[in-house]
Assembly symmetry: C2
Homo-oligomer: 143 residues x 2
Amino acid sequence: MRFDKTRSAGFLTNHLARLFAHHLQARIGPLGLAPAQFMTLLELWETDGLTQAELVTRLDVEQATMANTLNRMARDGLIDRVPHPEDKRARLVRLTDKAKALEGPAKAAAQGINADALAGLSEADRERFLATLNEIIGTLRRR
Amino acid sequence: MRFDKTRSAGFLTNHLARLFAHHLQARIGPLGLAPAQFMTLLELWETDGLTQAELVTRLDVEQATMANTLNRMARDGLIDRVPHPEDKRARLVRLTDKAKALEGPAKAAAQGINADALAGLSEADRERFLATLNEIIGTLRRR
DNA sequence: TCTAAATATATAGTATGCTATATATAAGAT
DNA sequence: ATCTTATATATAGCATACTATATATTTAGA
């Protein structure tokens, strides 16, 4: 059976994701951030005080993955966790001042990588690429 | 600063790669394979007897990553490593009969996932998507 | 030739992802 | 009110990725 890597969406997406992660790490590492932490901060910069469960839903990772990421973020002084006022099981994730201060530089770094990556494409191709990514994500999530 | 996840190539690619990996795991797991093992087998099915260094180049992963993947593959009876005839530092990675027998079913599983993922796209959009992935990979590798 | 640089592999440590499992609390059902 | 089920979080164990480092061998250069 033939299988051409360069024509496999799964293979190529895996490769590209590793390249993006590598570049992101290079640019936000100096800020004291790692990629999964940045992804989590994107939600918290939008809405401070989410629960772990809400972050899990919004970022589509497993609960155990998020629990570990939040532990590392607390260790690194990016978040605090305070008791949920109405639910003794839950805790609210709160940004520290340190994490709030990183919003500008970290988002700029990520935007820069996206811009570099798509630099060789026409505006129409960029739009089509983003739309297709979103569409395939939707397709695979439904299964 | 605004940062829309649904318009970030890096964010979307990370998400999609996780979805692809999850589906691939579900379909090749029952064959006794994991995604990185499958990726490595793709090269070895093409060319049996590669060195670790050659696999590293072809798959664009770090040497330590490949060393660990090969250890797990040897543990699982998918490969043997034999001394390189001309270079005492190196070893040749050889497929076992077990690994050879998995080529058809594993490739079929991966093709099936790719087909499912792209099912909602026109043929032209599929081609464009694959071409764009390859192009962006090229761009980011050059940096 | 002998030393220095390059190459092939291995290992340690860490981050991020997963599944499976455990515990605590909340909500619903009878 | 009690019992069952659902929800929120934590933890253990593993795969895959990374960087940094170590060792062995080969190649190149003085």
